[in-house]
């Protein structure tokens, strides 16, 4: 901030353009920034495979762990995409699979397969804020809330943990589970570094943080993410490992057949 002030002064002094220079400085397009960040966070490459280690810590410090492989394929950049999840842990859900067809314009479709019963069960998907496998992440947090659901306003530029960021305020177009959200977008990587969700009484509900960024197959990726619910003192950390992009996952993998018969080529513990 200080540096930009000095630059600003220099601009006035050196160029002599003065006031005209200020008028020319454009406010960044908040919607465009959010769109880019959303695509970077949730649509990297055309498809992706990753091993996820999920750690849920409650207020007493007790930890639960979920380990799974997640497959994703984009049908349309920023639009429809499909997810496939195979669980390794906890042991009582080992081999359980989950599939979601995400449709930003309508309800998602979700299925779960319980191998001990050989049961394929579609699960209702109208509730996007339901917790994903008992974590602080909701279904929507895992696959990303479409930027088109909110109205975005550019607030300011700010440095966050050494990263220059844009800060954007978003308000849902339709009444939703939060009243407003603040997002910090990294200027360098265009990844979301932090999000704060506030309720209608402006109390902080949830905080999302990107804890680690790595470049994988040329794609800058948030490999460690955290969601906290301050009111309940509950925290969930997600670590993505063995990530690969553009592996050419066959579209038919996202079907009932493979829900019942997991594709072994992607599922190695």
């Amino acid at each position: 901030m200080k540096r930009s002030f000095v630059l600003f002064l220099m601009m006035i002094v050196v160029s002599g353009v003065g006031v005209a220079g200020i008028a020319g400085a454009q406010t960044p397009d908040a919607t465009e920034l959010m769109k880019t960040a959303h695509l970077n966070m949730y649509y990297p490459g055309d498809d992706g495979v990753a091993k996820v280690d999920m750690r849920i810590t409650d207020k007493r410090g007790k930890t639960r762990t979920r380990k799974f492989v997640i497959l994703r394929k984009d049908w349309e950049e920023g639009g429809e995409q499909r997810y496939y999840v195979y669980f390794f842990e906890p042991n009582d859900v080992r081999r359980t699979t989950f599939m979601a067809w995400k449709n930003p314009d309508a309800d998602d479709s979700r299925w779960i397969y319980i191998p001990a019963l050989d049961l394929v069960k579609p699960i209702s998907a109208n509730d996007k804020k339901s917790s994903f496998v008992g974590s602080d992440f909701s279904y929507e947090d895992v696959s990303g809330r479409p930027w088109t659901d909110d109205v975005h306003t550019f607030l300011k530029e700010e440095e966050l943990d050494g990263h220059p960021t844009y800060v954007i305020e978003s308000k849902p177009k339709k009444k939703d589970y939060f009243a407003r959200k603040l997002t910090w977008i990294d200027k360098d990587s265009s990844l979301i570094l932090r999000e704060e969700y506030y309720d209608s009484k402006d109390r902080l509900q949830k905080v999302f943080e990107t804890l680690e960024i790595k470049v994988i197959d040329g794609i800058t990726t948030a490999v460690k993410r955290r969601m906290s619910t301050p009111k309940k003192k509950n925290v969930t950390e997600l670590s993505f490992g063995d990530i690969s992009y553009n592996v050419g996952i066959d579209a038919k993998v996202f079907s009932e057949r493979f829900l019942k018969s997991p594709p072994r080529e992607y599922i190695q513990e």
Binding site: N91, S124, E256, R264
Partner: protein, 431 residues
Amino acid sequence: MKRSVWMVGLVLVLWPAASRAQLELHGFVESGTAVRLGDVGGVPAEWGSVPAGQLPAVWAGPQDFLMREARLQLRGDLYGDVGEAHFVMDALEDGLRQGSAEMTLREGYVKFNALGDHLEVRAGRQPTTWGTGDLLFINDLFPKDWVSFFIGREDQYLKLPSDAVRLGIYGLPVGVDLVYTPQFTADNLPQGERLAFWAPAFVPTQLPTSELGNGEFALRLNRYFGSINAAFYGYVGFWKSPLGMRVEASSPVGFYYPELRSWGGSLRGPLFGGVAWAEGAYYDSADDPDGVDPLVPNSEWRGMVGYERSWWSDFTGGMQFYWEGMQDYAAARSSLDAAFGPQAFLKDENRTLLTVRLRQQLLYQTLTLGVFGFYSPTDEDSYVRLTADYDYSDQLKLTAGANLFQGKDSRTLFGMNDQNDSVYGRIRLSF
């Protein structure tokens, strides 16, 4: 059963030699207890006097437990280059069957793909499930263990595995599943070991003989239209419960499983933010096409519709309406009257059933409270299942529940279980 243990051992030994394979071993240890609420009462009046030595356990003496057992389940999954092998062994120390630890092979099958991935073969002991209902089954004629279900064992024990060959054919406009079970596998129904029951007579039940023609064929054709699944089903085999009666000199001498053919269809897909389903079938009672044989069940139509959705966070609620209608009720009634008199029990021409499921998850989904209720307006009976599951940790799970039956007539499905109300608890450690 011993043979199957050897088979698993053999697979374990030979598999790694045949290919580079990866073996994963997991399982759980579980202890469960169910306690009867109330008294069993006497044997059904129709049975007359049963010799003391033949009385089923629930009537032979005081029996307050429906379940008192410890179980070790071991599951192994082998993944090789050419295919997979899966097995599940249960070692059960059953307090109600004194002195005998039972080893059961719950799963033991090999799976591989052929014909350029267009064919998937699963051969061996395995569970199979299809159809759309929630604890209601119309086109799913794979074996069920209703005893386990009624005494409070975990849900997976409702499904009995069958020794079968299952083919999945893909790449056609419809997905084809074909399951051939060489030896008919019946449902496990209450027989007085843990649960009181009603039957028109106290006579033994006979399974179909082990002839090649006495197997079961089950077929499913299905296709997704977007997220909507449409399916057609066919089945050739036997009624899953012993609804046929053998008579000598006009008195019953045994029950058996009459032949059954069925065909039906189902639709399931998203609706108003939830999931809706509809399923129907025609049960062709092949031993009695005109419905005039009083010793064989009538042909029937069965159908159901259901809907489930999430009403608020971590809460789902669902409802189903089910109907079964006899094809030749008048013929069945009059032939029964002629053979056994007007007191002889025949189910209603139309039997309807309503079910409700409510489920709330709490404390970051570590606590699940559930109610599942069946109510039949025609049979005037009901069955309520209450469950509370608590995940103390990723490994340790505690379950408590109750199975509560009510009925006006001790001969209807839930009415005959009226004396089987129980509460149960289970503790499980997974590894």
